[in-house]
């Protein structure tokens, strides 16, 4: 064990010096290396390593908690952002804008007209908007079924001419036919 140690303890570059030293008569003073610091070092390394690993693991776990919390928060924020962008889109919806404009009494201009800023020329035929230009922006109210809103009954009474005034020519009830266009190849 000690031979092995001395072999280890003598580094190669020191051999020359050793040889020279042997020439002089000097007592051998190779000291035995002390063990304690080495053991302390190993224990320190080992202890430090374990403690470090434990600390590292703990901090990793802590970071994982933090990451989970942050991820949840990110999810919540993403959802919030989406909800807000939905709200924004709803506000920018042309129908909503038109409804608000209409509430302010605005109408769509009928005749386009422009002012050329370079020389102040008016292009187009500007006409003042009137309430008549207002446009319905909501669908018409639903038509009631015929049971609830029966068609007006139109009764045609034949004009009473002296010749036709006989008991048989009593007024006949005729439903008015809906207006119809000419048949055949009638194309406009």
């Amino acid at each position: 064990m000690s031979i092995l140690k001395s072999e280890i303890r003598v580094p190669r570059f020191a051999e020359e010096t050793l040889r020279r030293a042997r020439l002089s008569v000097v007592p051998d003073r190779v000291e035995e290396a002390r063990r304690a610091p080495f053991v302390a070092l190993v224990v320190l390394l080992l202890g430090g390593g374990v403690a470090g690993l434990l600390a590292f693991n703990t901090s990793m776990q802590q970071a994982s908690f933090h990451a989970t919390a942050l991820e949840n928060r990110a999810d919540a924020l993403t959802a919030k952002k989406q909800a807000l962008s939905m709200q924004l889109a709803a506000k920018r919806d042309p129908q909503a804008l038109a409804a608000r404009a209409k509430a302010l009494g605005m109408v769509v201009p009928t005749d386009p007209a422009f002012i050329r800023l370079t020389d102040g020329t008016i292009l187009g035929q500007p006409t003042a908007a009137t309430p008549d230009d207002s446009m319905r922006i909501n669908p018409a109210p639903a038509v009631k079924p015929e049971v609830l809103a029966p068609k007006p009954r139109v009764v045609k009474v034949p004009a009473a001419t002296p010749a036709a005034v006989t008991p048989s020519a009593s007024p006949s009830t005729v439903e008015k036919k809906p207006h119809r266009q000419k048949k055949g190849h009638s194309i406009q």
Binding site: K80, V108, R136, Q181, G184, Q188
Partner: protein
């Protein structure tokens, strides 16, 4: 003694080791994984559908469904229903019934609710219920009667704006419309993540595999949301005002073929398609056919002009009625023998005059021209289910077919097809294929569509197109034409009315219904927009001029203003309508 104890303990360990590792190691490993591992689907975000300015027409939002366990909610039903009715726009009594349902442990309370709203509602419920729970131990645990689950939400902020084109995604996740045609492009690919969990938190050095999701791509349309909205409202007013059944309208840019608006009426709210009336969910403007009627005369006459068979001043003697083979052709107005110029035939919309002039073209020539104008073939804008319309093969034509097809009967088209055909005249005789998609996109069927794939072809000469335009300018002219209502003050407008009888699908004969329409463009000498309005089955007795014309004018006025198109300042030519003895 000590050694014996050690040996026994060690052998016990040995037996256990053998049991774990030797007998069925895989089952144990799987069990362990099951306990700790969580596999989560990382949902790919569905792409948005945007209009030409980047405003969203369809967007995806994190959604949640609210689920109740009636076994748990029954005692607190009134409280829960109150909160939900206040916050989520659900019916109080319906909710109450679901919350107290017997023999059930799963009830949908609300679906596709934005995540924040849903979470807030559940938090509110828990806060309300907590003080009501008497058991201390149970109070410590969050109330589990109402829970949340992921439920992707597709939102259409414009509601009915372009709904007929966009389609919607139904409760089962089944898309329709453009959502269906571009489903692959929009949906992307879901990812997956597997990781180990301890106490709700990820174990840092545990097993962890992630497949990143591939988000869907956005689809940008050529549609202008505000224009689309306005066109839809004007169209619906025209439909309702004339007591009509339905209608459609198209706005196109002549040079590029971009479709700024493609409207159908009636339409529906894409957020809530279940409330739609029956048969209104598709896009009739692309999927239904009708006979174009007199608007088609523009195509016939421009073909005649292109072949140098007529000029705008060609004198035509229009008989009161025209006998072709065994059929008699009438005009929409009764008249004696009229002396109309070719321009007059267009301005007055004479069937007889057009049929007479069209005899100068062979069947094949007329057929070929109509096909070149895009009739009888799909526009290929990318919406699934588009119809090709029908132009019968010329080999089977008789003289009657030639005569009626010349004024728009006996062929069928869809609205966009016909708009693109009229757009050819606006674009100086060059047909431009219409586009709904800005840039380029691939449909699910592998077809590449969009403005990057626009095709152009010359159909009639520039000269013929210009002459045709001048003739069409006489139509909105109150002194000469059939559609004074189509004028736009200060601008030159070219257009053509159409009134065609509708074919009854039952008897395959002409029914009582009419399809009235107006197609045109402005400014006539520098076209900026082609607009086509079609109204089906009006009941107020109006025609293309009186119903379609005013709608056309409103849409054109809006467009010219919105896009800042100033009047050209030129004067419309005054072409003669009559000749000979009718000249006044």
């Amino acid at each position: 003694m000590f050694l014996l104890v050690v040996a026994m303990v060690v052998s016990l360990f040995g037996v256990r080791l053998f049991q774990l590792q030797g007998l069925d190691p895989k089952a144990y490993a799987a069990k362990a994984r099951e306990q700790g591992a969580v596999t989560a689907v990382l949902p790919a975000k569905r792409g948005e559908i945007l209009d030409r300015t980047g405003s969203p027409l369809a967007q995806s939002v994190q959604g949640r469904m609210l689920i109740a366990d009636p076994a748990l909610t029954r005692p607190y039903a009134a409280v829960i229903a109150r909160v939900l009715a206040d916050r989520l726009d659900v019916d109080y009594f319906d909710t109450l019934a679901k919350l107290t349902k017997k023999n059930s442990r799963f009830q949908y309370l609300a679906r596709r609710i934005p995540s924040t709203q849903a979470t807030a509602a559940v938090t509110a419920i828990q806060a309300k219920i907590k003080p009501l729970i008497k058991d201390k131990e149970k109070r410590a645990v969050p109330f589990g009667g109402v829970t949340l689950m992921s439920d992707p939400l597709r939102s259409y902020p414009g509601k009915d704006v372009a709904a007929n084109l966009l389609g919607f995604i139904n409760a089962n996740g089944q898309p329709s419309g453009l959502e269906l045609s571009f489903d692959k492009l929009l949906s992307g690919k879901d990812g997956k993540q597997t990781y180990e969990v301890g106490g709700g938190n990820r174990i840092p050095l545990g097993q962890n595999t992630t497949v990143e999701p591939r988000n869907g791509k956005d689809l940008e349309l050529t549609i202008d949301r505000d224009t689309q909205w306005y066109v839809q409202r004007v169209l619906c007013n025209a439909v309702e005002g004339s007591g009509a059944e339905s209608g459609s309208a198209v706005v196109m840019r002549p040079g590029t073929g971009e479709v700024l608006a493609l409207a159908d009426c009636p339409t529906f709210d894409a957020n809530d398609p279940s409330t739609a009336k029956k048969g209104t969910l598709g896009a009739p403007s692309l999927q239904n056919v009708y006979e174009p009627g007199s608007v088609e005369k523009v195509l016939t006459v421009s073909s005649l002009l292109d072949a140098h068979k007529v000029t705008p001043r060609t004198k035509i003697t229009v008989a009161p009625e025209l006998h072709v083979a065994d059929r008699t052709i009438h005009d929409w107005f009764t008249h004696p023998v009229l002396h109309l110029t070719m321009t007059g035939v267009i301005a007055k919309s004479s069937n007889i005059g057009t049929a007479e002039a069209a005899t100068q073209l062979t069947h094949e020539q007329l057929y070929d021209k109509l096909r070149e104008f895009g009739l009888g073939s799909r526009t290929g804008v990318g919406l699934a289910g588009e119809t090709a319309g029908l132009v019968p093969d010329w080999h089977s034509w008789s003289a009657v077919n030639q005569a009626t097809i010349a004024f728009g009967q006996g062929i069928s088209v869809n609205t966009l097809q016909m708009a693109a055909a009229i757009n050819t005249i606006a674009n100086h005789g060059v047909y431009v294929s219409p586009s709904l998609v800005k840039g380029s996109a691939t449909t699910d069927s592998g077809q590449q569509v969009g403005t990057d794939h626009t095709t152009k072809r010359r159909v009639v000469s520039t000269e013929a197109a210009t002459k045709m335009t001048r003739m069409m300018e006489m139509v909105p002219n109150p002194e000469t034409g059939t559609a004074p209502g189509a004028q736009v003050a200060g601008y030159r407008v070219a257009g053509k009315t159409g009134t065609a009888q509708e074919v009854d699908p039952k008897c395959k004969c002409y029914g009582n219904g009419f399809t009235v329409s107006f197609a045109g463009f402005a400014p006539a000498d520098k076209p900026a927009f082609t607009v086509y309005v079609v109204i089906n089955k009006p009941t107020n007795g109006g025609g293309g001029g009186s119903i379609g014309g005013p709608a056309f004018s409103k849409i054109q006025s809006f467009l010219l203003q919105r896009y800042g198109v100033t009047p050209t300042g030129t004067k419309a030519p005054n072409l003669p309508i009559y000749w000979g003895s009718d000249l006044r």
